[in-house]
């Protein structure tokens, strides 16, 4: 470790020290005798950064575009303002009430928006902002309508009036505290789960994560800082009007989020400060301010892909040096003993499904038992993937039963299916960006072993216990698939073969009753296929139930204990590798061998397989 450059040594230390130092500096600003204008800008920038941080939770982490921050901001501000009007000036009380009010608005508006999926949340939250002035006008008795709410009293803390300097500190402390909370969420298992969700809701569901609840959590949780910001703003200016919560503010928040980097914790601060200070400067140009603002947003958007924090991260990486080369050391130590993987019996009976008029599956049966590898083969369009998706709960069955041991799965949603014990990999490995191999694998335990967000934020004992188990289990399964030496590498940077192994590990960590592998060997070279086959054998030997959907016939023959062949949505053949190999129909339909040709099938099989493999790999 001696020769490391300084940056690397800092990187090795606790990274939260830097933001913490910045936070303390911010809290102490009133001692620096700064010019008033700068102090005021700092206050507004902190309030803006709270808003941006809330948006980041849903946009950057959960991948859901929402513009409703402004409505929650307004909810917080009006709650605090109306409390203050009635004499409740304690800032702590106001903050709490504003946070709760905003949370309620978040939940109430999030439920319909998220239920509907796709763009609905963006739409409904966008409209929420447009409706705000109308709603405030309709309740003008309490809100002052478009004329704004006046008569807000100066804030107090425990009965003592706060001076402007005190109040600056209050804002700074709330901001720093929120970012500590936000950071704790982001680096916790919940942060990883959110990234999984952003990567793909399908992936999240297949890992047992309830997509709707997770998105709602991110959106509603993002309401809290907005509510706090609202309360802080109301007591800062002692006057609020619908103008402070206009669509322009919504776009400013969005711009700050994107410029700072939506998928980062502290990007919100950068983005907010740039917009607050940058845009304010542009008012010096007076009549050109619109032009300057517009140009500023264009230039910022063009230059900063991934946001400022993305830029900072890549610079940081360059300073610290390259990640340890991922594929360098191939042979890591493997444990001799493999712990048991308790598999369950997967039973599919008479399952049928049609899309429109197209009958994709017509009464398919399949049984996969523990300690066995069951392969599902068939030409393109034979219904393999459809069957796989039905088992996982992504499609509803038209008829038939799917069961894991005694539990019927066909009526469950994908996340419940996954929690019941079905784990799967994807044809194209589905791995979230920006997390390490270890985190990616640990995410597999998210749904099965719970710890609430509050426990994560406060780092309570239960969270710590779950976290310790997460780490230990990750080590175990990474050992099992043989990529433990890569656990600190960035997951998406791994070569294809290792990403496949990572997916297997992610499945295994949830102790699945059945492991579904979708085209897991496609695109791999011979070495990689062999390592994968080795892993599958270990899982089988440890007692796992493995279902292999595969085009690579050679791999299927060498691994499978039983093979199920589909054609045109129907069961074509079922049996041991030898039986399938000798089945003329399978050979002709699947591999295109003419049964009437002179040579016996298995004589030329090797050549045929090579040909088939090339054809498949496109």
């Amino acid at each position: 470790m001696a020769g490391l450059p300084l940056a690397r040594r800092i990187a090795a230390g606790p990274l939260w020290l830097v933001p913490l130092a910045a936070g303390i500096l911010l809290i102490l600003v009133p001692y620096f005798n700064l010019e008033y204008s700068i102090v005021r800008q700092l206050q507004l920038a902190m309030i803006l950064s709270l808003l941006v941080s809330g948006l980041n939770l849903s946009l950057g982490f959960a991948g859901e575009l929402a513009l409703g921050q402004v409505a929650m901001y307004a909810a917080g501000a009006y709650t605090a303002g109306m409390l203050s009007q009635r004499g409740h000036t304690d800032i702590v009380l106001q903050l709490v009430a504003a946070g709760v009010a905003a949370l309620l608005v978040g939940i109430l508006t999030g439920i319909p928006g998220l239920r509907l999926g796709s763009w609905s949340l963006a739409m409904t939250s966008f409209f929420l902002v447009l409706l705000l002035p109308d709603v405030l006008a309709i309740f003008r008795e309490d809100t002052g309508g478009r004329n704004g709410l006046t008569g807000i009293l100066s804030p107090t803390l425990f009965g003592r009036m706060l001076t402007p300097e005190d109040y600056f500190m209050v804002i700074a402390i709330v901001t720093v505290a929120w970012f500590a909370v936000m950071r704790n969420i982001a680096v916790s298992r919940h942060g990883t789960a959110l990234r999984v969700l952003k990567q793909s809701p399908v992936l999240a569901a297949s890992m047992g994560i309830n997509v709707f609840r997770m998105k709602l959590m991110a959106y509603a949780l993002g309401a809290v800082p907005a509510g706090l910001a609202g309360a802080l703003f109301a007591s800062l200016d002692l006057y609020i009007s619908p103008e402070a919560f206009s669509f322009t503010v919504a776009t400013t928040i969005l711009a700050a989020s994107v410029l700072g980097g939506s998928a980062s914790v502290y990007g919100a601060v950068f983005g907010a400060f740039i917009l607050q200070f940058g845009l304010n400067q542009s008012t010096e140009f007076q009549r050109y301010s619109l032009v300057v603002t517009g140009a500023f947003l264009i230039i910022g958007g063009v230059l900063l892909t991934g946001g400022l924090s993305g830029l900072a991260r890549s610079l940081w990486k360059r300073a610290v040096g390259e990640e340890p080369a991922a594929a360098a050391d191939k042979d890591a130590a493997r444990p001799d003993e493999v712990p048991a993987v308790p598999g369950k019996v997967l039973k599919v009976e008479g399952v049928a499904k049609s899309f429109g008029g197209n009958q994709a599956l017509k009464g398919v049966d399949l049984v996969a038992s523990p300690g066995k590898v069951t392969a599902l083969i068939g030409p393109n369009g034979s219904g393999k993937t459809t069957l796989l998706n039905m088992i996982c709960g992504f499609y509803r069955t038209d008829a038939g039963v799917i069961a894991l041991d005694d539990r019927q799965l066909q009526r469950m949603g994908p996340d419940r299916v996954a929690r019941t014990g079905v784990a799967r990999t994807f044809q194209t490995p589905n791995i979230p960006e920006g997390i390490t191999v270890r985190e990616a694998v640990m995410a597999g335990r998210y749904a099965g072993h719970r710890a609430t967000v509050l426990e994560a934020v406060l780092r309570l004992p239960r969270y710590r216990k779950v976290r310790r188990a997460d780490l230990a289990e990750a080590d175990r399964v990474l050992d099992l698939v043989g990529i433990r030496h890569l656990e600190d590498a960035e997951a998406t940077a791994l070569p294809l073969g290792q990403r496949r192994l990572l997916e297997v590990a992610r499945c295994l960590i949830s102790n699945p009753g059945v492991l579904l592998l979708d085209e897991t060997a496609s695109g791999l070279d011979e070495d990689e296929v062999e390592r994968l086959a080795e892993v599958i054998r270990r899982v089988r030997d440890a007692g796992g139930t493995v279902v292999l959907v595969e085009h690579n016939f050679q791999l299927v023959l060498s691994l499978a204990d039983e093979i199920v062949a589909l054609a045109h949505g129907e069961l074509m053949a079922k049996g041991t590798p030898e039986e399938i190999q000798n089945n003329e129909r399978v050979m002709s339909e699947y591999l295109g061998i003419d049964p009437d040709a002179p040579a016996a099938p298995h004589v030329v099989l090797a050549d045929v397989i090579d040909g088939a493999q090339e054809g498949v790999e496109r």
Binding site: L157, A177, S241, T283, R287, L290
Partner: protein
């Protein structure tokens, strides 16, 4: 956990440390100059910008007048213009900034009432004399803001001039159409109350969204109630939509526009770029100050126009040129009080002789009193005129 706790504890400790800390008082105005700060939305969006520029221009003209006549209590008046974008948050920022740097003696707030709502508490806190154009619910209340004076006629003042006019014309059933702006809301409510009190029959009171592009629906709703005349609050493009809608409906009804209508360029511009002289405005009259219609005999007004023109072109009507009057009022008040102390000036301003004496141009005589710091111009200060071409901020 440790991190977070540390932050909170550290923060609280720091908080208690400053408990005794306090900013030093800045005693502005002790030198030989009298500092005037003008807040205006020079870079605001849309029509607000032109209004702001006229307000600022009138302030400059007022300074020129006052300095020519010996300054305020012998002090030379200096002026500083601050662009608040007509945005309350920006206004608060810039005002606090200006106070911290160099405390002004007088603040002229030319923005909308939302800006006034946001800035008045700060001005009060700092004991600064201020004049305000956009009235709020409490801005003219001496108990709430003892050092602030409203220059503009309140919606009420303007409306008080309506019933005599209606009587003269024989209108008994009145329809009201107003915008969804903060002023529009107040105007809509106040006009109904005033007309009701005057024994008129308000048959309809409709609102339109200021961002909407068509008001035919509201007009139809009003027409169905068969009023004799339509009182209209509209400004900028919405005014055009209303006039188009009336014409489209083929509705032959007298329309009485408020001062916002008069301030819209469209009705004082001839076709093709405006509607002056077209059938769309044939039934339109609008309420203006007498000073907004050109009168060769009004020397104070004509003198102000000359001063303003010499500095910059006048972009909108003189209705918003109040700041000239503010400076004239302060000068007269300082003469009476013999001081520039804000409290003494405020006392002098409520003495009827002071506004009487001041050479104000927009409103002939302001009527501040101990109970109300509103301008309260008499109904005779207003006139109802048909649209005409606008020259130097006056209808010809």
């Amino acid at each position: 956990m440790k991190t977070r706790l540390f932050k909170v504890v550290g923060g609280l400790a720091a908080l208690s440390l400053v408990a005794a800390g306090c900013a030093g008082e800045d005693s502005g105005g002790s030198d030989d100059e009298y500092h005037v700060l003008v807040l205006g939305g020079v870079s605001a969006e849309g029509v607000l910008a032109d209004n702001a520029s006229t307000s600022v221009l009138s302030a400059k003209a007022g300074v020129e007048l006052v300095n020519k006549n010996g300054g305020i209590d012998g002090k030379k008046v200096t002026i500083k213009v601050v662009d608040d974008q007509a945005d309350p948050t920006v206004a608060v920022t810039k005002l606090r900034e200006a106070i911290a740097k160099d405390k002004p003696d007088l603040v002229l707030n030319s923005g909308p009432s939302t800006v006034a709502d946001a800035t008045l508490p700060i001005l009060k806190q700092n004991n600064i004399l201020s004049f305000n154009i956009g009235p709020t619910e409490t801005s003219a209340d001496p108990k709430a803001f003892p050092l602030n004076f409203d220059l503009s006629a309140s919606a009420q003042n303007q409306l008080d001039a309506f019933p005599p006019y209606f009587e003269e014309k024989g209108y008994a059933k009145i329809g009201i159409l107003h915008g969804s702006s903060s002023y529009g809301e107040v105007y809509g409510a106040a006009s109904e109350k005033t007309f009701d009190a005057a024994g008129l029959d308000v048959v309809a009171n409709e609102e339109y969204d200021v961002a909407a592009l068509d008001m035919t629906a509201q007009l139809e709703a009003i027409r169905s109630k068969n009023p004799d005349a339509l009182v209209l609050d509209a400004y900028g493009a919405p005014l055009g939509y209303v006039l188009k809608g009336v014409e489209k409906l083929g509705w032959d009804i007298p329309i009485i526009g408020n001062t916002s209508v008069a301030a819209t360029g469209l009705i004082s511009t001839e076709p093709p770029s405006g509607v002056l002289g077209t059938p769309a405005v044939k039934n339109l009259v609008m309420q203006v100050y007498k000073s907004t219609a050109y009168d060769a005999a009004a020397t104070d007004t004509n003198d102000m126009v000359a001063r303003m023109k010499a500095i910059d072109p006048i972009k909108s009507t003189l209705i918003v040129a109040y700041n000239n009057d503010a400076l004239a009022l302060v000068q007269a008040a300082a003469e009476k009080a013999g001081s520039t102390d804000p409290k003494k000036l405020a006392e002098a301003l409520i003495d009827p002789s002071v506004p009487e004496k001041a050479t104000t141009a927009v409103i002939g005589t302001y009527h501040f009193s101990a109970d109300s710091h509103a301008a309260n111009p008499a109904p005779e200060e207003f006139a109802f005129i048909a649209p005409g071409p606008l020259k130097d901020g006056q209808f010809q």
